[in-house]
Symmetry: C2
Subunit: 454 residues, 2 copies
């Protein structure tokens, strides 16, 4: 049986048309015209549902609003795209956005003191408490993406001209957050193993103090970096930061939501996580957690007073700009959260799967892994210059032959055309998919007569 | 026939369960176990679909993730909540979030130069062009809420200690944006008609210059304010701002997406709109548009260079923090956009409906409208101290009797318990719903023997 993805979308969309009848009707019920439309839409729905159980295929799916194609890469393919894997919605997350898609949908029962994180129905307040506990910090807020967490912290602790210690593998959004606050990034070098060490961090801090006469304002460090996805020693780096009385921001974009994170044990003053990268949530979403010591600073409430009206909005937090995720993104985060909490407990298995795939790749002669090995994360950077790229050199489709071969096997998310160094993530793939994926790589190698180590 | 809202949700959710089978299966198709589950879920779906056409009722709907109740206020009620009306999703918008809910769903075909507004599939680049044209400005970006637009502009033009001219009715997020940038708000008084005039703005600018010795850095003005929803003379206010060489930010949170807005005709340097408030989009979403003159400033690209690696991320915009809405919020904005463009052309009818309702309310003796009258907007502030509040004084449920009466008639969104001054919006209600709403108010008044003017 072919996958009935288009038919499932067709049925979902038809149900949304049916739902629209409810939305257009009076609270008292459907009038006769509406009942007619209801019946006719229902019969269309029935027809689609019948096709879900037969070999026959429906007409091609119409584009949304006439221009937007349906996205079916999670239904029809194995998606190894490096940043998409852990942001895939859970089933409950998908239900949440269906129910809460409308603009200010979280605000039905907003009462005094009128702030998102205080709303109890739906249980947004409780979720904030759980979110803080999840990363073992004192307080948490949701933000529109991890970058908005970096921004909030940078604007709180970084003054014009201040230095901020970051990794040589730091994500560009850290650069931008520091730049926005008027600071200057100072990069800690990686060692021969592509790792940031506490010693190197201390040396860099000393260097900055010597050069500028001023202690850096912040140390911001990625637990797992985005470049090769190595695990850096954040706990010891945080210790070094504190020795210099510098606050420590833990960038958990690749960890919070996939592996256990204990902010207190790490010694983090700030923990930043990404909803759409690692918490099975729609973009933009994310979280910022902090300690009771730092909360009054980064979550400071407004002091601004209208000079004429004397208006004050005391409970609103300046860096949050008041409320943050007032709709479906937050509710989807909440709906995915039980599964997200659970899956962090299965991290070992995710690491095993990552290594299983890399081991299979390494049997293809000339293939290398540029990330630390054995792998400690599902994201990896590989180098196939010595294997798949050899074929690309003489193939008329160049590197795209490789994308063609993958997509013919239902695998997508590699960087199209890249056959030298590229990244992929195995996160969240079942063992069944994982084995299929590994086999596909070996199969492609065999097809092009690349030598396989046994 | 009772509204089958729970059944529609049940069917949607069952289809999401069916979709999950596709997601869990190999690209090659369903295995035998999966086919079994498929069949059994399909039969459950069929059962639900049959109930959509009968009088029988299903079991109560389960909560999402065990804790989140379904939201059905747009299906079962007339929602007059003051800020929710124009953020209600369109049918196409709802389809969009179903298809694009997963985290980085917009990034499948992200290619050089790796920025959200440059993506052509789905047509995100074209949408940015259309968005700029929509408000007749040169360039546009999407942002996570209007407040993030205020923030981007404030951080670009406001230095520490600078004054920013705002309305006495300015929204709190303008206060926060100015505070975050280190500035100070200076409020222009409203006149006897609760309107901000160009003259009053000029007087305030003069006052600030006299007091501080410095010209304000920005004039930020709400076209329609959130307090009473009066229309302020932004065109003449922009002229005044420009006479002093001050850039002008047009706050279109209550206009962009519901009425025609011509940024150039207004003389705006910045146009800010809200997706979840007025563009039928999920929260957080919004837009910032600007002129070719101001774009290099507010949309400046990063200049930060890694001191060790010399890394630069040249195409990324500092105030946007790189990409902004990388998921379903953007796609829903795009999907709703054709209908949003169209509906701004029907603004006169929306204003007519607003006045129809207010006129009906004013027939209830003692009722007043605190907004300018005749109304020029769908949002209004009313004062029922002289009518519905009289009943509340002796009713055992106090002001909640009024909420009870409204909700018994399927009307929600009033501020629960408030019978003195409160706000409502009639935006987007059909004439059928509007007449029902107006009749309901008169009916409640009659029930409690409040005098009606004929």
């Amino acid at each position: 049986m072919e996958k009935k993805t288009d038919e499932v979308f067709n049925a979902l969309f038809k149900l949304e048309e049916i739902r629209q009848i409810l939305r257009d009707s009076l609270p008292t019920g459907l009038d006769n015209d509406e009942k007619e439309v209801w019946k006719s839409k229902l019969s269309e729905l029935n027809e689609i549902v019948q096709k879900l159980d037969s070999e026959s295929v429906t007409k091609p799916l119409k584009k949304i609003a006439g221009t937007i194609e349906i996205r079916n890469r999670e239904e029809n393919y194995i998606n190894i795209q490096p940043i998409q894997a852990a942001g895939r919605l859970t089933l409950e997350g998908r239900k949440a956005i269906i129910a809460y898609g409308d603009g200010y949908s979280t605000c039905d029962a907003c009462r005094k003191p009128f702030r998102l994180d205080k709303i109890s129905k739906p249980p947004i307040g409780d979720f904030h408490t759980e979110l803080a506990q999840f990363v073992n910090m004192d307080q948490a807020r949701v933000v529109p993406g991890a970058r908005r967490g970096f921004q909030a912290v940078a604007q709180t602790v970084v003054n014009k001209g201040d230095s901020v210690i970051v990794s040589s593998f730091a994500h560009y959004t850290e650069f931008l957050a520091v730049e926005g606050a008027g600071g200057q990034v100072r990069e800690v070098p990686v060692d021969n193993n592509n790792l940031i060490t506490a010693d190197a961090t201390a040396t860099k801090i000393e260097e900055v103090i010597r050069e500028t006469g001023k202690t850096p304002a912040l140390v911001m460090m990625d637990h797992i970096d985005y470049q090769v996805a190595n695990e850096h020693d954040v706990t010891d780096i945080a210790k070094v930061a504190h020795q210099y009385d510098i606050p420590f921001l833990y960038n958990g974009a690749y960890t919070v939501g996939v592996m256990p994170v204990d902010g207190k044990a790490i010694g983090a003053d700030f923990v930043v996580g990404s909803g759409h990268k690692s918490m099975a949530s729609p973009a933009p979403s994310g979280m910022l957690a902090t300690t009771d010591e730092w909360a009054p600073k980064v979550l400071r409430t407004t002091q601004m007073v209208g000079d004429l009206t004397s208006r004050k909005f005391g409970v609103k937090e300046v860096e949050m700009l008041g409320c943050t995720l007032m709709g479906s993104n937050l509710i989807a985060m909440m709906a995915s959260f039980p599964e997200v909490q659970k899956r962090t407990q299965n991290w070992d298995d995710e690491v095993k799967k990552s290594n299983y795939f890399i081991d299979a790749l390494l049997t293809i002669d000339g293939s290398k892994v540029l990330s630390e090995y054995p792998r400690k994360h599902a994201l990896s950077k590989v180098d196939t210059t010595g294997s798949f790229d050899i074929v690309a050199k003489t193939h008329k489709r160049k590197g795209f032959y490789f994308s063609d071969e993958l997509s013919a096997r239902g695998i997508v998310g590699e960087f199209a055309g890249a056959t030298r160094t590229w990244k992929l993530s195995t996160y969240g793939l079942s063992w069944k998919k994982l084995r299929y994926l590994a086999d596909a790589f070996v199969e492609i190698a065999e097809k092009y007569e690349l030598p396989i180590k046994k």
